[in-house]
Subunit: 283 residues, 2 copies
DNA sequence: ATTTATTATCACTTTAAATGATATATAAAT
DNA sequence: ATTTATATATCATTTAAAGTGATAATAAAT
């Protein structure tokens, strides 16, 4: 009973997507699923023509087993790679926020130290990343929430404070535009809250793609932004004014999570060691 | 990656036996194992010619995963059978002792009530039965030891006392032969201990195959035996003398064990319900 | 109504597993 | 030391399963 095709199809909620993922044609997936349904004598999916597949209640029961088996197979593969001394790919989860700004340094450093090890980056919400960890789809993830979950190991990595950044002083925030990053919600939300609390609702919002652009806008006096101070390089600190915010609300903790009891491959221990030796606030 | 062949081969410690169990020829097992070793690039077994196979350290690592996967597959199959309302076979473990004497009544009653449900009987030591339960190879087992293990659920089923049985009185045990069952060690050991404590070492031991024979021998005055009293039917109690032994050593508790968190199929719940309704000391 | 995205069917090809006969290797028995 | 019994390994062949590609069918979106 091979449940892999079923598992991927159920996860993708689509036979065509499963076919892509499994490097075969859709008709094969269709036939295999049909065969499985007939072997087990149960209907696994509700098919709705042009709409997404959904698991039937019976399909859900089988899925629970298929998922556990898939996880074990992934772990077995990792264990074997580890035996063979293969520097297996490391999969790292990141939140869809500018957390990446600081973490990129770690990734770059890892790549420099272990250029032969492939790095796979997955982004998602904390919940999604936790799921990915439990499914052994990623090895580690960086998150901003202090969570406590039975099968998740959490280590604090660094903590820093947010700062208001602008090219003018901070006496008056009225009539200031704000500058934020696209696809970044965490810092932006805190900046808006900060202003809203002072009854200020900026009408102009610049949404930019990169940190470099954002700092260029700020330096040019286009508006106010909020970022962890550590993103500013020394030469930029001269060009800009910044005000570190002391409240807990403006503190961010970055935590590394990984699966409790999961195999610590050489690759993974290399990565974790590198983080521990990483100097976050120097330089 | 199909680990089933590897799993069975490792468990049987033999490719030929695995071939029997998997209903295929030995050469196929040999080829599949070789293929797996080459795919994974690790040696799984130490082959020693005419001797049993042993797992290499790497083989042991893979085996741990293979076993977990095999258990999940068995459980998935059970869950599906349960969906289909199939009265799946129930596998029952019994100790290699005359425990079976009393338990046979339960099994006969179960068979009467659910004639369509297949019953598979496995015998083994307590340790072996516990292993079988954890591997989902059997659904329940009856054991005589009060064990406490994390993933095992234990319910006391009944308790009774052993009795000395003979056709004469119990004033003097000297020069008495003893009558025991073949393949039964629990009661026999206690009988021997009982006599040894009195410095009596019977030179004649009748080893019989069935309870009926044993009681016939006892009735004929051939010797002394020890059994749970409940095995005597009323009409036999008139023909024989019996002396119930009060010491804890001669008390036997029979417990039912099953896997904690395992699926309770209709078949299994039927069986457990039947036991609970079973009148052990009446009739 | 037409387009788009999806699953199902089918004749066919390719790949993998299983077979059966035989060779080889080892431990134990003689 | 030779035989015997019991293993695993190899290989040409057969059988069965998985996968392909073209096409049909279906339902939702525009």
């Amino acid at each position: 009973m091979d449940l892999k095709i079923f598992y991927i199809t159920a996860k993708e909620r689509s036979m065509s997507k499963a076919a892509d993922k499994l490097h075969c044609v859709q008709s094969n997936i269709s036939a295999r699923i049909k065969q499985l349904e007939s072997d087990l004598n149960i209907v696994l999916f509700d098919r709705g023509g042009g709409k997404k597949l959904t698991l039937t209640p019976n399909g859900k029961i089988l899925f629970q087993y298929a998922e556990k088996i898939a996880i074990l197979e992934k772990e077995a593969e990792k264990a074997i790679n580890n035996i063979n001394g293969k520097n297996s790919a490391i999969a790292i989860g990141l939140m869809e926020t500018a957390t990446a700004i600081k973490l990129h340094e770690i990734l770059i450093s890892y790549h420099k130290n272990y250029p032969e090890s492939k790095i796979k980056i997955v982004t998602g919400t904390t919940e999604e990343l936790v799921q990915n960890i439990l499914n052994s789809e990623i090895d580690v993830a960086f998150i901003q929430d202090l969570i406590e979950l039975p099968n998740i190991e959490l280590k604090p990595i660094f903590e820093e404070k947010l700062a208001l950044i602008s090219n003018t002083n901070f006496d008056n925030f009225r009539n200031k535009n704000i500058i934020v990053l696209k696809k970044e919600y965490f810092y932006r939300e805190r900046l808006e809250n900060f202003l809203n609390a002072k009854n200020i609702y900026p009408d102009k919002v610049f949404e930019l793609d990169s940190l470099e652009e954002l700092l260029a806008y700020a330096s040019a006096g286009m508006g106010l932004t909020m970022l962890p101070l550590s993103v500013l390089k020394e030469n930029q600190k001269n060009k800009l004014n910044f005000k570190i915010l002391g409240d807990d609300e403006y503190k961010i903790g970055i935590y590394l999570i990984n699966k409790k009891g999961g195999i610590i491959t050489k690759t993974l221990s290399n990565f974790i060691e590198l983080i521990h030796n990483f100097k976050f606030f120097e330089k």
